[in-house]
């Protein structure tokens, strides 16, 4: 699995993650119902995320591979993402 830098940027924008940049990384937090819940980041560079880095990027969003493909492919909205992931990370 690969995630290009452009795709990672689009995912941040779609999930309304405000990017914070450092020398090597772009990081942010997925906010649901006003509460920061999922930390997520990717590294700068033209090569994008490959192999393990792409896998970890998906894992940090608590998505299964097929769900991540849909998110990456632009057909999953932020509301749909929250519907899927919300119950996986929220308390009773």
């Amino acid at each position: 699995m690969e995630v290009s830098t452009r795709e990672a940027e689009r995912i941040f924008a779609k999930l309304k993650v405000k990017p914070r940049r450092s020398t090597h990384h772009v990081a942010g937090v997925v906010v649901i119902d006003g509460v920061g819940r999922l930390p997520v980041h990717y590294s700068h560079g033209r090569k994008g995320l490959q192999g393990r880095a792409a896998h970890m990027f998906r894992k940090s969003l608590h998505l299964e591979p097929d769900e991540f493909s849909v998110l990456k492919g632009c057909t999953m909205s932020r509301d749909e993402f929250v519907t899927i992931v919300g119950p996986r990370i929220t308390s009773p």
């Binding site: 990081a27 942010g28 937090v29 509460v35 920061g36 819940r37 970890m56 894992k59 308390s91």
Partner: protein
């Protein structure tokens, strides 16, 4: 105390952590003191939401001890049962004990009672029964800690090959879920353990990180915190990237108004590193 409890305590290296969930402050403090006297480390919260946050944020809780009725204003409140369901589902290795002065065992259905490893009615207790029940809680906590440690040690010994006692001691504070989720996958992928000190951090313990060379690059991930993963062209570069990422996440999470779940857990971990103030810049 019971002989079983004495034996388990003698055999234990570290004290088990008991999360006490009780809405009344006086009861919370009494329970905390009683568990402390039995060799446990109490952590107290007043409702089920706070308990869930604590479980997420603090690895190492060995037992949850909860009042079943946590909102007395609601006559039929059974938040403790709801919490037990959550613990069973999210942390199946952590035992949970429920008690209530309001509900007797007959008032709770078999389905509700099934979520607890042990439940008792404190309203009908004699002094002797109170002691027996608290001994039982401590016994469960020590047993839980011991079992978890054994499983973690076995996995680590398998993973690291030459795991030092020092690493094991630190790793004991990780939850079994973290050990299972991180270690086996990484070991199979060829990672090794390494201790790393963050130069900008305060006087804190070094971090345990996984390091792996793969396809011309080096992957590094902080043990038990899968969000803290980086890649570099060399180990030195990867560790430089890790420090960069830690500082970046610290600034970002510190700027958020409210955190929960994985973000809260990561924030607590970074806060423990005593990193320099972020300045809350955006």
């Amino acid at each position: 105390m019971t002989e079983v409890l004495d034996a388990i305590q003698e055999d234990s290296i570290s004290n088990p952590v008991v999360l006490i969930v009780e809405d009344r402050a006086s009861q919370r403090n009494t329970k905390a003191k009683e568990m402390e006297e039995r060799g446990c480390v109490p952590v107290t919260v007043e409702d089920s939401d706070a308990a869930a946050r604590e479980l997420t944020a603090s690895p190492g809780i060995d037992l949850v001890l909860t009042d079943i009725r946590l909102a007395p204003s609601d006559g039929d409140d059974r938040s403790g049962v709801k919490l037990a369901r959550f613990v069973n589902s999210a942390y199946p290795d952590i035992p949970i004990v429920g008690y209530s002065a309001f509900f007797s065992a007959d008032d709770l259905s078999d389905d509700e009672l099934a979520h607890f490893d042990y439940a008792y009615n404190k309203g009908a207790e004699s002094i002797k029964e109170i002691r027996v029940n608290l001994d039982k809680c401590a016994e469960l906590a020590f047993r839980s800690r011991k079992e978890r440690r054994s499983r973690a040690e076995a996995r680590l010994a398998d993973a690291a090959g030459q795991t030092s006692e020092r690493i094991l001691e630190i790793v004991r504070s990780a939850t079994l879920a973290e050990v299972e989720g991180v270690e086996q996958v990484l070991h199979e992928a060829g990672f090794r353990l390494k201790l790393v000190r963050i130069p900008s951090a305060g006087n804190t313990e070094p971090l345990i990180v996984w390091v792996r060379g793969h396809a011309g690059s080096i992957d590094v991930e902080v043990y038990g915190h899968s969000n803290l993963y980086v890649t570099g062209g060399s180990e030195e570069e990867a560790l430089e990237h890790l420090i960069d990422l830690i500082q970046l996440y610290w600034e970002e999470l510190d700027s958020q108004k409210e955190l929960s779940g994985p973000a809260r857990k990561l924030y607590n971990f970074l806060a423990d590193l005593k990193l320099p103030e972020s300045g809350k810049s955006n």
